[in-house]
Amino acid sequence: MTQTETGENEGLLVRRIRNGTVIDHIEGGEALNVVKILGITGTTQEALSIATNVPSRDMGRKDIVKLTNRELSKEEVDRIALISPHASINIIRNFKVCEKKGVEIPSLIEGLVRCPNPGCISNTNEPIQSKFRVLPKGLHCYYCDWVISKDLTSYIL
C-alpha cells in the first residue's frame, strides 16, 4: 500500500491475494534477495508480486513480497531472518490473515549459502550441502571454519 506525502492512502500498489503468503516489513531494498533465498525464480509456478521501497511509518521504507497459492513453512521463512530480521509473515486463506508470525534466526543453515573459501570441501562434487552455524560474528562454515561476516547475499546459492 502506498501513501501520499500527507499520509493519505492511494490504494493498493499490488493486489490482495486470495491464498498464499505475504512477507511484510522486509528491509527496504532486500525483497529480491528474499525471493532468491526462498528459491523462487521466474520458472517456478507461483504468482509473485514485489513492492520495494514502500514508505513505512516504523521502518522509513520497506519491501513487501506476496506469493500466491503457496504457504511458506517456518524453516523457509526463518532463512529470511538472516537478511531481514524484522520481516513478518502472514499466511492468507480466502483473503483473510490466518496466521501471523515473525522470523527467527536459525542456528544452522544448510544448502543456502556457498562457502567463500575456494579450498573448502563443500565447494566440490561431494554429496553434501554447505552448512553454516549462525554466530554473533557471522556465518561459520561447519567444514572449514571460514566466517562470512558481511555481504552475505552475494554468497546465496
Binding site: 573459501n117 579450498g119 561431494e126 572449514c144 571454519d145
Partner: protein, 300 residues
C-alpha cells in the same frame, strides 16, 4: 556410544588435552599395554605427501600391536577415477577400525567423519587443522615448562601455516601470550586473530626477530614457502632476516626452546641443532607417543 573422531583442536577443552598429554607421557615412560590394538587395523588415507605424520601414525599403531593399511599413492587409488571422498570413506570404513586422513581440501576430515562408521583422525586438511601436530607441540613444550602463562613466538608463514593456527588456538586455553613475526601478506589471518583476542589472548606483532628473541619462552618456527613470494630475491631477503642462528640465541632466555614442525629448509641454521635450546627433533620423535595416545583414545 557415538563414534569418537579427532578433527580439530578447537573441539577439545583444556582438560581433554591435558588428559591426552598425560597419557602420552605414560606411554613415553613405557607404561602401557603393548597389545592395546591387537587385531585392530588403521587405514592411512593420505591424499597429500607426508613423511613424519604418516610414518609416526604407522609406527604408533605398530607399537600397539595393530596393523595399518593404505593406498599407495593418490594416483593409484579410485579418487583418481573421480570417486568422491564420501564414497571412499564409506568403503574404507568397511576395511578398518579407524581412519587417519590427510587431504588438500579444508574441511575434508569433517566430511569424512560424517560418512565414516569408524573413528576419523585428521592428519591435516589443506590450510585447516592438524590436531595431532598441535598435541605433540604442546607435549614438547610441557616437557620443558608448564604451558600456563608462557610467551610463545610464531615465526614464518602464519597465513597458510596450519600448524601455527592450531597451536595458537590451543594456547589460548592456557593463558599464553602470542608474539608473531611474519612477512607482509603472510600474517595471521584476521579472523583467527580476532577469535584469539576474543578468547582473551594477548597478541604482539613484531617487526624484527631481534626485538622479540629476549621476550619469549618458546620460538615456534615454520617454513617459508618459496612459492608465496613474487621472486627468489624477496624470498631470500625475508628468509635470511628470519634465520635462527646461534648468534641470535645468545640474546634468548636461558630456558627458551626452539620448535619447528619440520621439514626445515633455511629457517634454522644447522649449528643450532647442538644448542640446548633446540627441541625440534625431540618434537618430531614425540609424534609417536602422542599419536599412540590418540589411537588408543579412539580405537579402544
Amino acid at each position: 556410544m557415538a563414534t569418537r573422531h579427532i578433527i580439530s583442536i578447537k573441539d577439545f577443552d583444556r582438560s581433554e588435552i591435558d588428559r591426552l598429554l598425560d597419557h602420552a607421557q605414560q606411554i613415553d615412560s613405557k607404561k602401557y599395554d603393548r597389545n592395546a590394538l591387537n587385531g585392530k587395523i588403521l587405514a592411512v588415507l593420505f591424499f597429500e605427501p607426508s613423511t613424519r605424520t604418516r610414518m609416526s601414525f604407522e609406527s604408533a599403531v605398530a607399537r600397539l600391536d595393530g596393523t595399518s593399511v593404505s593406498v599407495g599413492s593418490v594416483d593409484a587409488c579410485s579418487m583418481a577415477k573421480g570417486e568422491t571422498l564420501a564414497d571412499t570413506i564409506r568403503v574404507v570404513s568397511g576395511y578398518a577400525d579407524a581412519i587417519v586422513i590427510r587431504h588438500p581440501r579444508e574441511g575434508a576430515a569433517r566430511l569424512a567423519a560424517e560418512f565414516a562408521t569408524v573413528p576419523v583422525i585428521n592428519a591435516g586438511d589443506g590450510a585447516g587443522q592438524h590436531p595431532s601436530q598441535t598435541l605433540l607441540d604442546l607435549y614438547t613444550i610441557r616437557q620443558s615448562m608448564p604451558i600456563d602463562n608462557i610467551d610463545v613466538a610464531l615465526v614464518g608463514d602464519l597465513r597458510y601455516g596450519r600448524t601455527a593456527h592450531s597451536l595458537a588456538s590451543a594456547l589460548s586455553l592456557y593463558n599464553a601470550r602470542l608474539h608473531t613475526l611474519s612477512p607482509t601478506g603472510l600474517e595471521l589471518p584476521d579472523t583467527l586473530a580476532t577469535e584469539l583476542a576474543d578468547k582473551g589472548m594477548k597478541i604482539v606483532n613484531h617487526e624484527t626477530i631481534e626485538e622479540m628473541i629476549g621476550l619469549v619462552d618458546v620460538l615456534y618456527v615454520t617454513r617459508l614457502q618459496r612459492e608465496r613470494f613474487p621472486d627468489s630475491a624477496s624470498y631470500f631477503n625475508v628468509a635470511s632476516s628470519y634465520r635462527i642462528t646461534p648468534e641470535l640465541l645468545t640474546e634468548a632466555k636461558e630456558n627458551l626452546i626452539v620448535l619447528h614442525p619440520l621439514p626445515r629448509v633455511d629457517e634454522i641454521d644447522p649449528r643450532v641443532d647442538e644448542s640446548p635450546h633446540a627441541r625440534y627433533f625431540e618434537q618430531s620423535k614425540n609424534g609417536v607417543p602422542v599419536r599412540m595416545a590418540m589411537l588408543m583414545d579412539v580405537m579402544q
